[in-house]
Symmetry: C2
Subunit: 351 residues, 2 copies
């Protein structure tokens, strides 16, 4: 399954709303408001027209909402208003900070429809607003997160959808995510590391235009285990994975002591750091680039990005949410989409 | 046991050489060279006069070496040369990048003598150069690191010497250090967290002049375990420790998701982050402040700081080592020493 490519009119990005009681609607309207200064590609929101209008009012922004019935209409609307695709049957009131089941159902319908439009090629890429997983679960969402949902929607195994966090100074790929730290060592294997690193390398080529991606594999243990003194995962698992990846021609280094891997001096030496657990990947990214981190899903037939923050119910509706990460996610989705298109064209020419 | 306080002449800091084949000698002479621009307090090196002279030559620096027989002589020498206390019977050649047993013996003798002079009060504080633990072990050093050595030298249990890493943007205290990541959950306990946090809070008052130190306790698991879904250490261990510390009147918050704790927005909300494992404390510190991180040992009767880097044998003798962390360590030792003196005087007045 792969989204068809068109070289006629530029296609818009599809933005799912996220939980309407979170900061998603606010950062979407703020991104549209800053579209020129930020150099953003054309996009439309899926559902929630009234909520987006209310969120614009909260922020004191003039954002005309332009209802559209088809993504193709976004092009003519985008210059003077935020195109919003109708989601018949899904209404919810704007109750920032007070999520409810109707809002969760709208968030889910928006995500499902935006995904479909990306898969059919009607949208160039998918940018997802932040959801509240526990609330979505109550309205039938059966996935640990949006990444796993997207893998299934694309007909792939969860293992094939690889999360990457990208900021201006750093890209990281966490190999394990939502599990207790105590479970991490048991979840690592040579196969897992090789599989995900391979997907990351291919995506950096295809979607980021990096001809020979350089991956840096983090160690699990402090000082990379100091020669086996503090844990054997480096010698038993990570080093063999590095050898296997090198045998495939992928440029990989490591296992690097994790505290040395994210210094200003080390960061320019690789294109992505492959990390063994959630906080190893997220701590440096957020310490360096909190307001502009983007969550990218690699390995899918569609381009998908997301701002690297949650619903932030505590500040929703207060005109406090920083749209920087949403703006970065929209920009990156546009760039990756253009790169993938160019990559495919170059592949056609080479055949 | 406590170093006697004198309010007559200012006392110099004692610098241990570190492994003479590492970058220790280079950064010591470079720090002396930059003493005026960096506003450094008076210091002397313990041993290695010939090695320090050779290291200065490698860096193209004019650093007159002034042999002294007593720390009290440092004062008159410091303005025109680097005072170096003789260490009779300990000679070693300058072989940068090629450590040997004679060098390790010199490093150990230097550390022992500098510690003694700090304990007697002849030196105002101790700044330690980087050592190679495996080499020191071969000449009889029976400790996992300098921190544990210093606890023993001061007559304390290892548990009472608390490592803190301090940079311009962040202070972190790792509660576990040189162990496999898999062992970390089993090493955490309410008692351990409370004991070390208490020492950290007291030291921030006494040595850093912070009247009411604010500690932020990091979670162990991603998203702080998300209500027990990914591990129970937050509810079983960290939250009870926080309650116990609050009951003692210490300002503590947490457990904080570790990826949210080191953002630019979060950092100003605490004076030190108490971290559950080595890389949790070191990743953000080095990502933000690699060249100026200082390792401080809290809870000792002496002030002890150290540059937060290793021997770096690979770049030793090549004029590549950045003296920033050594300069920061010397400056912090001087500041902490002055703070502790002021704190003690204020205590006397209050009695």
């Amino acid at each position: 399954m792969s989204a068809p490519l068109s070289d006629t009119a530029p296609r818009p990005l599809a933005l799912s709303l996220g939980d309407p009681a979170g900061i998603g609607p606010e950062v979407i309207v703020a991104a549209w408001d800053q579209r020129r200064a930020a150099g953003l590609p054309m996009f439309f929101a899926v559902g929630g027209a009234d909520i987006l209008a209310a969120a614009a009012a909260v922020r004191g922004l003039i954002v005309p909402i332009v209802p559209i019935a088809d993504p193709a209409e976004a092009s003519s609307a985008f210059g003077h208003g935020l195109p919003v695709l109708a989601l018949p049957g899904h209404g919810a009131a704007y109750t920032p900070g007070a999520p409810d089941a109707a809002g969760a159902a709208l968030a889910l319908a928006s995500l499902e429809q935006a995904t479909r439009l990306s898969l059919t090629g009607a949208a160039a890429a998918l940018v997802t607003g932040p959801i509240a997983k526990s609330l979505l679960a109550e309205v039938g969402f059966a996935y640990p997160g949006q990444t796993e949902f997207l893998a299934a929607a694309c007909g792939l195994a969860a293992e094939d959808a690889v999360m990457m966090l990208a900021g201006p100074q750093l890209r990281t790929v966490p190999l394990t995510v939502h599990c207790a730290l105590a479970e991490v060592p048991g979840l690592l294997s040579v196969e897992h590391i090789v599989h995900r690193s391979r997907i990351a390398a291919a995506a950096l080529q295809r979607d980021f235009g990096i001809a020979n991606p350089r991956l840096a594999l983090a160690a699990l243990n402090p000082h990379a285990g100091e020669g086996g003194k503090f844990g054997s995962e480096e010698t038993r698992i990570i080093a063999p994975a590095i050898a296997a990846l090198r045998a495939e021609g992928i440029a990989v280094t490591g296992p690097h002591p994790a505290d040395a891997l994210f210094t200003a001096r080390a960061r320019p030496t690789y294109d992505a750091a492959i990390c063994m657990y959630h906080d190893q990947a997220l701590i440096p990214l957020k310490a360096l680039d909190f307001d502009s981190g983007v969550n990218v899903t690699l390995g899918l037939p569609i381009i998908r990005t997301s701002p690297d923050h949650g619903t932030a119910f505590d500040i929703a509706g207060k005109n406090l949410a920083d749209p920087g990460a949403m703006i970065a996610a929209i920009r990156m989705a546009g760039e990756c989409s253009a790169q993938r298109f160019a990559h495919a064209r170059s592949g056609e020419r080479n055949c």
